[in-house]
Symmetry: C2
Subunit: 611 residues, 2 copies
């Protein structure tokens, strides 16, 4: 009987894994295609992969679990998925929030642009053949479409059905072209709108925008966690996984491809469309995400001199990647700039048409922090190792911007006023709130410029003083008490969290300073500051300036632009002109390797202060 | 035991079919991948599919076999493969000649041309990356190769191995490009020469020329029967098979693809090269062969107004067709002119660079007869339904130009002097001999201008008179007696054979007349006449003029140019310039639909006379 497999059932996702007894719950979730976020990569360090075991026998709590979970939690069945093993059939509830980040595209669309996609759809009314007009079906079609007829490319499958479709449709047909390639022919009566998907592959989150390529309308949006997070929250751990695990690269590629397929399929289902209507997918992502999608070895990105395999815009057949589309569907990966300045930055610069502006600073704050500076003459980019702190990882009670996340903190009557997304009971703290809290604590003197929480209540507003407890590295600030919290667990910001914030903001700010210096402009020269990223437009400009991730610019110049990287992918999908712009921007952008800047360390140390 | 399969073993090819007892020998040959030519399509009419049953039980002779085989043949085990069924394990000898047509390329290469293939190979010595030079691997490669870097396309599989190859080769590499597509990267030490194959798909014969694309050298040639011949010798029966049989088109496509794969594989084996060295395959063939290779529905070629699916030059991935090449290999099908004027004619016109000549008439005599006329101003083409008579089909004892075929006939001392290929005992009559015999018989008065063999010996040379026997439609001329023949069976040319020759030559000649008239030139204006086709350069110019397939031009102007269609495919493979020429010629060529010419019938009737 020892060969019998047990079943691990996951709720509410509904997946089931069949595996030998003893399987780790995280692996089982993987088998069941249920995503559980593991910022530490399943090493039992971060304590983020909590699940609730509803029924069934599981292994004893490990030392890591005893350290990271309360006795109360353990006794109520809460376990870490990376630690607990199923000994028999088990029912598991994934309590972790799935990503439901709101990524409204309209706010990221910084400007209007002209619809003119690469995928072209033409209605043709052709003369039927005659002895006096013996042109071949394809020549008739191309001349009818007013296309050059000498460079003729057509999908073989389309040529194979061409005579039947032409005759069934009595020579009234709709053709779909991609460049000079004929990819579809339909009778006028049966023709359906052509669709495309723009996909933003974040280290943490993947978002797909389904676009109607005839009308330019956003038809549906879908998003999910990047399933690669089970191998670690940050880029470096993914690269290491690809390099060190046998078949690691193939696994990571299959995961992101699977996620994209799910997102596309769910977006298509939303509007009742068929996969055969989907002709093109454009993709943005940082260089590591870009390489992992394409199955390109990312290891040289992570070691000096930090060389990507391919930086240019790439067009590949969707079928070569395993992405489900129309049989002739293609994937266009926007170009990248350098090892850590990816197609996502190119997307932001494209969405902003940055070189058409006055001197501009743009920040894309996701798991990494990319900094772009347009001086009016030079376009400079750098990647800062901000780490995923602002996306909730490394923050003790950090989380994504999902319902129940503390997203805003104000100072009212000498106390913190805390708001959660959708006004739900507090579950944790998301990125935008980290900016606010830091700013408010600095404002009231509860946080020193060196990043230490005040040890005494002297001079602090009474409300804030009452929230502070603990000592030294265990000092913390209460944000939501047991009554305000979702599961009765109070939400705190800790001294250690503040150290993480300091590191992240210091890295970004040092990058900003070095780029401005290299560009030869001062903060005062900046006509605008763009804050992009999942929560870019949830950040309060004044908090960003006060806590110091941004230099002191007038708040009015700061604009939150949401997922501008995704907007860039949408624009490249819907307009050949914007696609060309993206390629041009990537080509003119100069990458500044911060690590090789002689005063980076000094700038970084300085920028960590909340001065 | 009734479920047990029997074995049908074929010699000398060596294939074995396992099938239920009762299987027809032709079907068994098909299963065993042994080609047996069946001009009548396996209907028991032509008697060409003779095999020798060495051992084992077979069905009783059918009425068709009794009619077409002598009692002696039947008793010695000769059977028609399309009629006989295996009742148990059977050993069968395929006595039919396999095609070993000599197709020397050099004689078809009418002119020199510059080597400049689409497949380009570049040796690169690249600077290794550094912090001051962080270009991506692909950008480094493309800039090193001096290629435009904005339109970057690369096979995904090449990108995937690129970083390893660059570093293994210490940035000394050889790249292979097709247009702007990077298809291979090898270290300098491991790089091998790039190869290409030019394939001429005849209705009856397929020939492959394996070319070294770096040196331009012909490395190997291989040829075989077109396995589609089991469904009929002529184009129309193939088109009907594709249209009427369920899965017929797929079967025909699989057959030609399989034959091409065998030819390529045998040519590669000849020189010890690997399939991974083969980057491109160019293809010529008549329109039906072209469509069947590509899986395009040929039915509209065969019915008015005779419309092909695609006439333009087509480039498709070899893998989409199932043709074995390098993973990124492509197939280039030369353009066609019209429903019955195919890429083979375009190949001939390209090989001849016909528009650079003075007024020229070109004939490509294969299973069909294509006529091309260049007037100095207009390029006209037509296809004549010559039928496969000149390739041996429909001729009672006709055969391909293989050893033992009667290939030349002279008049010496009032008698026929008959020569066979390789001086082997006579097996049958091939195309070039038909021209000679007809000319000689006309010369001596043994054949009247109306195509009737003389019924009396009056006035005939004694030698010839002695060879004639039979009466009316059974009258015949002895070419080789039992002693001179391979199997003791005398070889005759019959009155019915002469009728077939009349029909074929009449069709071609009528086409010539109509094209010359349409072109507005006379026979005297012609500066040259090119005879292309499998036996084009075995035809004696004087016989061609005497029997009347050609108008009366001075013999010195007539040139046999062998397989010029194949030469055109080779040139398109080895030179982009010649490929462009082929596309231009196909575009300027005007197709003349003979059937719609008002005086075709009159011209045809007239041309059938041996006047």
């Amino acid at each position: 009987m020892s060969n019998d497999k047990i079943e691990v059932r996951f709720h509410p996702a509904g997946g089931t894994a069949k595996a030998p007894a003893g399987i780790n719950l995280l692996e089982a979730a993987h088998l069941a295609e249920v995503t559980i976020s593991t910022p530490c990569g399943g090493k039992g360090i971060c304590g983020k992969c909590q699940v609730l075991v509803r029924s069934g026998a599981v292994s004893e709590a490990t030392a890591a679990e005893k350290k990271l979970l309360t006795e109360e939690q353990l006794s109520s069945g809460v376990r870490l998925a990376c630690q607990a093993r199923a000994l028999g059939d088990v029912e598991v509830e994934v309590t972790q929030q799935q990503v439901v980040v709101r990524k409204d595209l309209s706010e990221a669309m910084l400007r209007e642009f002209e619809l003119g996609p690469r995928v072209k759809r033409l209605e043709l009314s052709l003369d039927p053949p005659a002895l006096e007009d013996q042109r071949s079906d394809l020549l008739r079609l191309r001349e009818g479409a007013d296309l050059e007829c000498c460079s003729c490319r057509a999908l073989l499958s389309v040529l194979q059905k061409l005579p039947a479709v032409l005759r069934d449709g009595q020579f009234q047909v709709v053709v779909t072209m991609m460049d000079d390639l004929l990819v579809e022919v339909e009778t006028l009566g049966e023709a359906r709108d052509g669709l495309g998907a723009a996909v933003d592959i974040g280290t943490t989150t993947i978002v797909a925008y389904l676009m109607n390529l005839t009308t330019g309308k956003l038809e549906a949006t879908s998003s999910s966690l990047n399933p690669q997070t089970v191998h670690g929250a940050d880029i470096i751990s993914r690269i290491e996984y690809a390099r060190d695990e046998p078949g690691g690269l193939a696994t990571l590629q299959a995961e992101v491809v699977g996620a994209i397929n799910s997102l596309i399929s769910s977006a298509l289902a939303d509007i009742g469309a068929s996969i055969e209507q989907l002709y093109e997918v454009t993709v943005v992502g940082n260089t590591a995400m870009h390489h992992l999608l394409l199955g390109l070895d990312p290891q040289y990105i992570a070691q000096a001199p930090y060389i990507p395999v391919a930086s240019q815009p790439l067009t590949v057949y969707a079928s070569d990647l395993g992405i489900n589309t129309h049989a002739g569907g293609q994937v266009f990966a926007l170009p990248i700039v350098a090892g850590f300045v990816g197609a996502d930055s190119v997307g932001v610069m494209t969405a902003a048409d940055i070189c058409k502006r006055g001197p501009t600073l743009a920040l894309d704050i996701g798991t990494n922090g990319e900094v772009m500076v347009w001086s009016g003459e030079r376009l400079l980019c750098a990647s800062t190792a901000a780490g995923p702190a602002f996306e909730g990882a490394k923050i003790n009670q950090g989380m994504y911007a999902a319902p129940g996340a503390i997203s805003k903190v104000d100072l009212t009557d000498g106390d913190l006023q805390v708001s959660t997304i959708d006004d739900e009971p507090a579950r944790g703290i998301c990125g935008s709130a980290l900016f606010d809290i830091t700013a408010v604590l600095l404002e009231t003197g509860a946080l020193g410029i060196n990043g230490r929480l005040a040890e005494s209540d002297d001079g602090l507003p009474a409300g804030i003083a009452a929230r502070m407890s603990g000592e030294g590295n265990d000092r913390k600030v209460l944000l939501a008490d047991a009554e305000q919290a979702y599961d009765g667990q109070p939400v705190y910001l800790t001294q250690r969290d503040i150290r993480e914030i300091q590191l992240a903001k210091g890295a970004v700010r040092a990058g900003v300073e070095i780029l401005l210096e290299e560009a030869g402009i001062s903060v005062d020269d900046l006509e605008g500051v763009l804050l992009a990223g999942a929560f870019g437009n949830h950040i309060r400009p004044e908090s960003a300036v006060r806590m110091g991730i941004l230099p002191r610019v007038p708040v009015a110049k700061i604009e939150g632009v949401g997922n501008a990287a995704g907007a860039g992918a949408v624009m490249a999908l819907c307009s050949e002109q914007e696609r060309v712009l993206a390629c041009e921007l990537a080509a003119v952008a100069e990458h500044i390797e911060l690590a090789s800047s002689s005063d980076f360390q000094a700038k970084f140390m300085e920028a960590m202060l909340f001065a």
